[in-house]
């Protein structure tokens, strides 16, 4: 446990009682935040997709993009859409154009 705490700060890595307390807190945080991570990422992706859609002006918003995505039976998920928006913005534009014209 001392090695787990070896990069803590100040007394938190030197004093035994503090080490046990802080290590416990660290484990609890990590356990809880692993669940939160999933939520956080999804929020991040949604924000990014929203930003990208508003730039391209094909759809007015994220909600309209997702609605049309589902209407056209695309199951690309948000993680992917967000990656695409960042790495390959042209692809996202192409996808949104396609689903807009199909409808």
């Amino acid at each position: 446990m001392c090695s787990f705490a070896s990069n803590f700060r100040g007394a938190h890595l030197r004093l035994n009682r503090m080490i046990t307390q802080q290590v416990r807190r660290a484990f609890v945080s990590s356990h809880r935040d692993r669940g939160r991570q999933k939520r956080d990422f999804r929020r991040l992706w949604i924000t990014r997709i929203n930003a990208a859609t508003r730039i391209y002006k094909v759809f007015d918003s994220y909600s309209k993009l997702i609605h049309n995505l589902y209407k056209n039976e695309l199951i690309l998920n948000r993680k992917m859409l967000a990656q695409v928006a960042v790495l390959n913005p042209n692809n996202l534009y192409t996808i949104s154009n396609k689903i807009k014209t199909i409808n």
Binding site: R24, L44, W45, L69, T94, N97
Partner: protein, 218 residues
């Protein structure tokens, strides 16, 4: 393709997405409800094989209709040794920057995949090391000029992969604690995973393609 086994840390189970994608690692699966389609897709093994993707030129294989066991061409003979294409509960969304890359869905997660790289997926039960696997659920295939956008799946497209290793993720410590109640439980967990090396993408050519548009020009 000198670095044939560059870890594709883009999107598989352990990566942090976006600008830091190659370096940061974070365990994670895709939890978007969107990715779990209510219908159950039965994956059919596509019949054909993928050549080693070299440069932009692919040796185009004959794509037969899905549903037959794959008939490996001599080029792939050594890969197919352990077994022809398997039905796998896997989607592929592959997207491709310079060459061709598809976007797959595997085990309810989606991945962007490029030939020559590997991805970590959930453990595929029946697969042994050096099995050739065909991933059928290709959601999008993108080349430099064209995008084949699957609605929802690019029909007959297949991503060929070889099982490199069946290992486990890094350990996560599951720690439950209630303060002032003298309750704590500590448990370690390593999730089994499979590393797949993507060898090629095929079968997408007949699908209607969309040219990739440039939003700035439009």
């Amino acid at each position: 393709m000198a670095t044939a086994t560059l870890p594709l840390r883009l999107l598989p189970s352990k990566t942090l997405t976006l600008p830091f994608f190659p370096s940061a690692r974070r365990p994670f699966a895709s939890f978007a409800a969107a990715s779990s389609s209510p219908r159950s897709w039965r994956l059919l093994a596509a019949a054909e094989e993928a050549p080693e993707p070299v440069e932009v030129e692919f040796v185009e294989p004959e794509s037969e209709a899905a549903e037959e066991a794959s008939v490996p061409e001599p080029v792939e003979a050594q890969l197919a040794a352990a077994g022809a294409g398997k039905d796998a509960d896997i989607f592929a969304v592959v997207m491709h920057l310079h060459r061709l890359f598809p976007w797959l869905q595997i085990g309810s997660r989606q991945y962007i995949v490029m030939p020559g790289r590997y991805i970590y997926t959930q453990r595929l039960k029946g697969a042994n090391v050096n099995d050739e696997i065909i991933l059928n659920k290709v959601l999008l295939v993108s080349t430099r000029d064209k995008a084949y956008i699957g609605m929802p799946v690019v029909t007959n497209a297949a991503v060929h992969a070889v099982v490199e290793e069946q290992g486990r993720d890094d350990k996560v410590i599951v720690f439950k604690y209630k303060k002032k109640k003298k309750y704590q439980r500590k448990l370690g967990h390593r999730q089994p995973n499979t590393r797949l090396k993507i060898t090629g993408i095929s079968g997408y050519e007949d699908y209607p393609a969309d040219p990739i548009l440039d939003p700035v020009a439009a």
